[in-house]
């Protein structure tokens, strides 16, 4: 008991001193569980997030755009891998995490349950969705758990091209024909509110936030980050000559921030609990890809075992 108290004290001291917690350090169970939940959900989001954009790879308007999109989707696979690896240091297996995703036990970011209907969505997703992700992820580079923080540093380095290429797509469309501009506006209309929802519930109703802030897993509240995102993005929309679909949006001289209208949280609840436009499709596609890859995984494992056995025999024979 006293030993546990000592360990807990040391953990608290580390956190207070902004020292990183490493995989083998003692940590409270609840801290470990919170991290496993958050990191694995984050990993799932990267992996499921490949689908809406993968949808346009074969239909990209030019070879250059196709190469860019391919590189971006490949990056997202890498992000998933870094994050799964970080979660594994906490004692959960890759298989357990994938099971949780495939059976619907684990959540992922609700944004990826919206369809990508036109090429302009590739612009809006890069600009807004990756933009919101960056806003969320940059503070995580300083999170108290070492392996997560290090994974996030890699992710953030790769993320900025994602947003820039998206904005460029929007810029080209906005400067194009009237039809192209309308397509860009339509994409902004559909992705704006779901992007704001990416920051999670309002602070008052966010059930995990407070503890996570105390543990320095989270550094800023959902509402703070959302406000920063709005402040950053509205001038960019103006630059594009597009209008943000929020009649209540207004610069507030006093606060130095944009005021914006209320978010439809019932939509968020619907999507997060499985009833978004694409939830079933996303999971079915993921499960299918996993099952279709099973023979590759088995064959590679069998081959490796055979080679190892042969090497073993040779050492014994010698």
């Amino acid at each position: 008991m006293t030993q546990e108290m000592d360990l807990n004290q040391r953990f608290e001291d580390y956190i207070a001193a902004d020292q990183k917690i490493e995989a083998k350090d003692w940590m409270p169970d609840a801290y470990r569980k919170t991290l496993i939940r958050q990191i694995s959900q984050h990993a799932h989001s990267e992996i499921i997030g490949m689908q809406p954009e993968g949808n346009w790879i074969t239909r990209a308007p030019s070879l250059k755009r196709k190469s860019i999109l391919l590189a971006k989707v490949q990056d997202e696979a890498g992000h998933g891998l870094y994050l799964y690896s970080a979660a594994e240091t906490l004692g959960i297996t890759r298989d357990e995490m994938l099971d949780a995703l495939h059976t619907g036990k684990a959540k992922y970011s609700s944004i990826f349950n919206y369809p990508t209907l036109t090429w302009a969505d590739m612009g809006a997703v890069g600009w807004l969705v990756d933009g919101a992700a960056i806003m969320n992820q940059v503070p995580l580079c300083k999170c108290s758990y070492g392996p997560y923080a290090r994974a996030m540093v890699r992710v953030c380095k790769e993320e900025s091209f994602h947003q820039r290429q998206g904005f460029q797509v929007m810029l080209n469309l906005s400067n194009g024909t009237a039809e192209q501009k309308a397509m860009a506006q339509d994409a902004l209309n559909r992705w704006w509110w779901p992007s704001l929802m990416m920051f999670g519930p309002n602070d008052a109703s966010s059930k995990h936030s407070e503890q996570s802030m105390r543990w320095k897993i989270k550094r800023f509240s959902n509402d703070e980050l959302r406000q920063r995102f709005v402040d950053m993005t509205v001038p960019q929309a103006e630059l594009l000559g597009l209008s943000v679909p929020d009649p209540a949006l207004k610069w507030n001289e006093e606060t130095g921030h944009y005021d914006f209208g209320p978010i439809d949280w019932s939509e968020f609840e619907q999507v997060i609990s499985g009833n978004g436009p694409c939830n079933r499709e996303r999971i079915a596609h993921r499960v299918n890809a996993h099952n279709e890859g099973a023979w590759v995984r088995e064959a590679a494992a069998a081959h490796a075992a055979k080679v190892a056995a042969r090497a073993d025999q040779q050492t014994h024979a010698a």
Binding site: E88, G91, T93, A304
Partner: protein, 97 residues
Amino acid sequence: MSASKNEWPLWEVFVRSRQGLSHKHVGSLHAADATMAVNNARDVYTRRQEGTSIWVVKAEDITASTPAEKDILFDPANDKVYRHPTFYDLPDEVKNM
């Protein structure tokens, strides 16, 4: 360490970022064997010219000191300040030392 029966083993990946620097740990991945681990490491950890050489080591083959040993292993160095050059106060006239 609980390895499930379907899972490929876990490998730790080390990358030499530039000729002349040592290999540095960058992360981990699963692979059936060492060759596949190197190939996968190339794909996930060096997509932007982050490296010129890769090491992979099976995670289970690494022996690490435990946090519990931290005091025993590392504290004795605390009171040996004379191992640092700054311990020695020399007159200003002494040059190039």
